[in-house]
Amino acid sequence: MLASGIDSKVIPKSSQAQAKESTFDHSLMPPCQAACPLHMEIREYIDLIAQGKVMEALKVIRDGNPFPSICAFVCTHPCENNCRRAQVDNPLAIRALKRFAVDFGGDRMIELEAETIYDEKMGVVGSGPAGLGCAYYLRKLGYPVTIFEAYLEMGGMLRVGIPQYRLPREVLDTEIQRLIQMGVEIRTNTRVVSIDLLSEMGYKAIFLTIGAHQSLRLGIEGEDNAGVIDGATFLREVNLGLKPRLGKKVAVVGGGNVAIDAARTAVRLGAKEVSILYRRSREEMPADPEEIEQALQEEIEISYLTAPTGIKSLDGHLEVTCVKMKLGEPDASGRRRPVPIEGSEITEEFDTLITAIGQAPQVPEDFKLRIGRGSTIQVDPVTLTTTRAGVFAGGDAVTGPATVTEALATGRQAAHRMHDYVRHNYPLPEENEKNVLSGDLLSQTADMIKKADRLEPEIIPPKARTKDFRPVEMVYNWTAAVTEARRCLRCGMGAEILFQDKCATCLTCLRVCPYHVPYLDETGTIQIPADQCQACGICVTECPAGAIVLRRPYDRNHLAEELEHAIKSASEMKSKPLIIGFCCQYGLHGTGSLSDFWRRDRTGLHIVPVLCVAKVEAKHILRAFEAGAEGVFVAGCGEMCAREKTAYWLNQQAEKVRKVLEQLGLETERLQLFEPSTMEEEPVAALDQFTKKIGELYLDSILSKEVKS
């Protein structure tokens, strides 16, 4: 059980127990990750951004997402809609942070490679996000892959549906270029009309992802008049380089993202008056709230509860008759059904009418597949298999119009199922190793969390942005991104009482927690509910029984490891006098400016990077002294800390050390705490003074030793 001697300094346990303890991961999946169709490790990369480790953040992002730069622009971010920070103030700007990581982490520089391991040729029909995603993962698995694309250019809806101001084409081109680099064969301008032909060509498994490009018809009189165009066609023409003449007054019918895209595109093409006709109210509008907001800023008028009932063509104009609606009972979609108000017809003149009330896939009959509701291809939801052997389908063609991220997730799923099919593996449902954290924050906890408003990335003003198709949203600068990332509540990686048998129920955790999280249950046992814990680490530091640990192995181990690392490099350098500084890595204090600032060119100064100084224990400081440090300092963020009371509890630990210093007849000035944001003097001056003082103490001690001898 007991290891002896110096080698077990850090965690004095038997090596087996130690290994087990340092590796287990009890962290729970946060709601953002659970909501993401790709289940990306959002909490992890946000945490890395908060430390300014952008390249590492990008790596985490790339591990979970084949085309992060695309998602960084167009993701509808279900993660943000599920972010628990909304219960405190507002959700984190996760998509904008991802864009920051992609832009600043050097995504453009990344090159991908893939090896061909298998011989079976795989075919992907359609180069939308689902097709690209599938090809990416198939290639990674080691298959030769060919993508067939009907249009001249790759990207599917990413190319022909989404306007350029939302997704710059360079971004899409870069990602496609990478696929080519990986060895994916690409055949554009190749419309697949028969699956049999592909099978004959030797494709062992085929993934159909032909999208939903066919606009639904309004079903009213005069719909085929010149001047009436459907949204999908309109966007496709514009996105492929045409500049249709719209006239001055344009109306768009519909309330989804395509309607908004069409309207905003019309504005950018020079239409003077653009209005959206939607038959329900804003509440029911399926478009993204941000998109609606930006459309309104661009002076697009939205007429709610309005539906066209007839279109007449009059010398170059359209005369559109509209009827006003009222909302009735909820329908199958759960939204309230619009009911026309009799006698409320009005007639208005427009130059162009764009219909965008929904789209459906158009599956060639020669595919010989079973077609379900809304002309979609019917598949098994787990295996994505169609009614034909070796033919898989996914994306909008199966679900009807959905999001890019969902399509990417389907692509990934399809790649693995095709792999299973070709390799004769039994398809297993996707493993979800982690339990998902659920539950709302209690008000007693939410009230104690520091409020910090969401920082939105800068948006180009409406007047400037509607002149052309350049991206509307700017990327964060470094400060804004780090500040925003620090707002993350780190759901599900907090503290747990791992060793109930060690717990003496001393109530320390209950007394020290700034968020009132631990409580005594009805049996008199202390509980630390995972859905409330804010992962500040104070109870871990204070627990006298060592019964509490943080759920993530990294959080448990990194401080002691970094400390030993610093001690080792110090002993190699043999610099005197040695000063060891524990420096918080969060925010700008830890990254850009401060890491440099603490280090500078001071010889003998070694930094131990810590993730919040609340995790620095008295024993760590003593260990630094024991290793020969003449002085030790701890630099936290003071008032800027995203957590509560960290400085106070750090001071408690420091007091303990000072007591030992006193008992041993050493100067208590050898231990110094810095809180840059609340310091009276300049941090540089304060540190200079400290190093000077330590230098003097060191000289004194050498002199007195020599005098003695």
Binding site: I6, P12, K502, L507, P544, A545, G546, A618, E626
Partner: protein
């Protein structure tokens, strides 16, 4: 709970000086709760001792750490029998009871106290402990509204308050509550002020024959003399 306080590091250092291999042994109950002898304090003390040693040029102590659930029962000692074989001294962070249990169980090993056993008390606040019980063996809390005059009155008088009370505080320290004023106030609250009128005969101050022993029932077999 038994409240203890860790001895100053320099004192402990002198105490362990003759022994090379020292096991620092924590206890998982009272001393853990009063933040002086739990697992955390064990490793803290180890670091402190190693640091102290490094400052003095290092004499090559070898420290090991262990924490038992309780040190006041011999059954727990069995768990460390093997490790104890290799060491020269046990530095126990348990109360005096633990130290003696160890000494009894490991007759050939030196056992040293790393803490001073102070009193029986409770946590008044985080990091603050107050004495509450003198273990006098003659509890009269029923008569004094649940407030012990033996421990909480400086004089320990049974018929208070004395003339040294002033504005509810004791003459010994203006910060210290007069226990008898507290008793009065609580009796008043409970409607039992008549208990204040009663005269309590002096306690039996005849020295308690130590060590005391309590036997649960006559059927418990005799375990020999009560001093070992």
């Amino acid at each position: 709970m038994i409240v203890v306080e860790q001895k100053p590091v320099d004192k402990i250092q002198r105490m362990i000086a003759p022994y090379e291999k020292v096991m620092i042994l924590g206890c998982g109950t009272c001393v853990t709760v009063c933040n002086a002898g739990g697992e955390r304090e064990v490793s803290f003390l180890r670091e402190a001792l190693q640091f102290a040693e490094s400052k003095n040029g290092g004499q090559g102590h070898i420290f090991t750490e262990h924490t038992l659930k309780r040190q006041c029962d011999e059954e727990f000692m069995e768990l460390i029998t093997d490790q104890v074989k290799d060491i020269d001294a046990i530095l126990s962070l348990a109360c005096g009871i633990g130290v003696q249990t160890l000494a009894g169980y490991f007759p050939d090993t030196v056992v040293l106290p790393g803490v001073n056993t102070s009193f029986l008390g409770m946590a008044k606040d985080f990091g603050v402990w107050d004495e509450r019980c003198a273990a006098c063996g003659d509890c009269r809390l029923d008569e004094t509204a649940g407030i012990c005059p033996i421990t909480r009155c400086t004089k320990g008088i049974l018929n208070g308050p004395c003339a040294g009370t002033k504005n509810g505080k004791c003459e010994v320290s203006p910060e210290m509550d007069c226990a008898w004023i507290l008793i009065y106030q609580r009796l008043e609250r409970l409607g039992q002020l008549d208990k204040m009128r009663r005269y309590y005969p002096p306690r039996n101050f005849r020295p308690i024959p130590r060590p005391r022993r309590i036997v649960a029932s006559p059927s418990v077999a005799a375990v020999g003399g009560n001093n070992g």
